[in-house]
């Protein structure tokens, strides 16, 4: 192939400008206008004062000062980080054995199992959260089932409207996100590495700890990221099953663009969330590089 290609100009070098322009146009419009320009607007708005108009007034850092000095925002941000952190940890830890089974033990059932674990990914997020509402409610599935089986004499309020309910619901809603990246990482580990480990006398657990786990870390970090990002900004689950004690940063952003009607401040909160996510991504990158050097 390479000898033939070398004899004449590479096909890639003769892409016509018209074709290139037409092919780049739709994606270019969407990415530059809907993504970059829209995000730029958020950053711009974050430095404006609120006068009720669309793009605000003046140039000020007051929004960020409020975020930095009001303890409410520290509390809510910290709570969002803790909840998203717990959800990420729970999702990744529970997903790892499933991914491991898929990669090394599933055999002929692999495709069916892969299909089954990815299917909930495509069902309505709202309905998955709603399902937990009916499970945890005072007159709900869990309470009534416990009373029916005689475990409890009366229903408890302890399930719904707690941060724990938010963690469980989010962990369930985002569970399918975590399996695939870990599975891909495990599946691409060369089998010869595992054979070498056992030939050199590593016991199964040692070979898992020293060979499989480090080699799958890029997948684990990718999984953690795709779970962490949507959960840290979530506002639907806290509203549905969390109650007032589980207000998250997404809830606050949403209310600034709704009831509170302070768009510049909401934009400033959004910028803070994006900065937090940027830090997490950089941390993950750093960790990835540490493990990446072994592969």
């Amino acid at each position: 192939m390479s000898t033939i290609a070398a004899a004449r100009p590479l096909p890639e070098n003769r892409i016509s400008p018209v074709f290139r322009f037409a092919m780049l146009l739709p994606g270019g419009l969407v990415t530059f206008f809907l993504i970059l320009f829209a995000l730029g607007l958020v950053v711009f708005l974050a430095f404006r004062g609120n006068d009720g108009s669309l793009l605000g007034v003046g140039l000020t850092a007051e929004n960020f000062l409020t975020v930095a000095t009001d303890p409410l925002y520290w509390t809510v941000t910290l709570r969002s980080l803790v909840i998203a952190g717990l959800v990420t940890l729970a999702t990744v830890v529970t997903a790892y054995p499933v991914a491991y089974y898929l990669a090394f033990h599933a055999g002929r059932r692999r495709n069916l199992l892969l299909f089954l674990v990815t299917l909930p990914f495509w069902t309505s997020y709202l309905l998955r959260v709603f399902a937990w509402k009916i499970v945890l409610a005072y007159n709900g599935v869990l309470n009534s089932a416990f009373i029916e089986t005689g475990l409890w004499s009366q229903p408890t309020l302890a399930f719904l409207n707690t941060p724990a309910a938010v963690v469980v619901t989010l962990a369930h809603a985002y569970a399918p996100f975590a399996i695939l990246p870990i599975y891909v990482a495990l599946d691409t580990i060369p089998k010869s590495l595992l054979e070498a480990a056992s030939d050199l006398g590593a016991r199964p657990f040692t070979s898992f700890r020293r060979v499989v786990l480090p080699n799958s870390m890029p997948g684990v970090l990718a999984a953690a990221l795709v779970v962490f990002v949507p959960t840290v900004g979530d506002y639907v689950t806290p509203a549905m099953v969390g109650g007032p004690a589980s207000t998250m940063i997404g809830t606050l952003i949403q209310s600034q663009f709704g009831k509170a009607n302070d768009w510049p401040f909401g934009a400033a909160l959004s910028v803070c969330v994006m900065l937090v996510i940027l830090c997490v991504v950089l941390l993950a990158r750093g960790a990835d590089r540490r493990f990446g050097s072994r592969t």
């Binding site: 074709f19 739709p26 994606g27 089974y101 069902t123 709202l126 199964p204 952003i253 969330v273």
Partner: protein, 272 residues
């Protein structure tokens, strides 16, 4: 147990765990269909007997029908837009050999790293600025954005799976870029195109977090469900509607997954 693939000892316990995991994954969702047939306004045990009454309440509900029509129209248009962008972005990323194409492809996958609430408010600001305001067109734009990473990933992996030699042969035989794309590469990836279209339709059809900010006076189906959740009396109706939506989602997603993997083997077996 060793980590080798051929030994299956230890896989037994792990297999049980996977089974338990699948139960955890599906059980809460399957409660919605279960209680939608239950003759009680509350979702609680013991079951009160079988009924189809809640499904009857779905008929002749103009607000629901309007929301459904909205969701279908928006879903189809957004899926068309997202698939078109997914095809062109990933094709140029793989074969365009330009930094611009690679940049566009990277930005197209960026929404994965932005929480939905921020995508929602950034688009809300944008559509107000350009005068669209919250409307169905705004929802379409939002859903193109939300579905874009999926269509790019699906199409990119498909294009990458087509042997390079096929495209080079077409170009060497004198086909123009456009002909090569339209007559060779696109037909070879037709199942993936259909799969990307179906998945992005499903994403739009089920999407709530972004549409919440962009809807004007005409809600979509998830927004209709959200508005009904305030009324305890309409809980069973929501469950009946949820059951219908879940069934449709499972069928579409299942078909899309099958399509995504179909035909790949043929392209690999006959690399020109």
């Amino acid at each position: 147990m060793s980590a080798r693939t051929d030994t299956n000892s230890g896989g037994g316990w792990l297999g049980l765990y996977v089974l338990g995991y699948l139960v955890f994954l599906y059980l809460p969702v399957l409660l919605i269909p279960l209680f939608s047939f239950n003759n009680s306004i509350q979702a609680a045990f013991p079951l009160q007997g079988f009924t189809l009454d809640w499904y009857r309440t779905l008929y002749g509900n103009p607000a629901l029908t309007g929301a459904l029509a909205n969701s279908l129209v928006i879903g189809v248009i957004a899926a068309f837009g997202a698939t078109l962008c997914g095809i062109t972005v990933s094709y140029m990323d793989l074969y365009g050999r330009s930094p611009l194409a690679a940049t566009i492809s990277a930005i197209a996958r960026l929404p994965i790293l932005i929480p939905g609430v921020i995508v929602g408010i950034s688009l809300l600001i944008l559509v107000n600025l350009i005068g669209l305001g919250p409307s169905r067109i705004s929802i379409v734009l939002g859903h193109i954005l939300v579905a874009l990473p999926t269509t790019v990933v699906v199409m990119r992996s498909r294009f990458a799976a087509i042997p390079k030699t096929i495209r080079e042969a077409a170009l060497d035989l004198g086909a123009s870029d456009w002909t090569t794309f339209r007559r060779v590469m696109l037909p070879l990836s037709a199942p993936a195109v259909l799969s990307a279209f179906m998945l992005s339709f499903l994403i739009s059809f089920d999407e709530f977090i972004v549409v919440f900010f962009l809807a004007g006076t005409q809600p979509t189906l998830p927004l209709y469900i959200w508005s009904q959740l305030r009324f305890p009396r309409s809980l069973p109706t929501v469950m009946a509607l949820g059951t219908v939506i879940l069934t449709v989602s499972f069928i579409i997603a299942g078909t899309a997954e099958i399509l995504r993997h179909r035909g790949l083997g043929a392209a690999r077996r006959n690399p020109a």
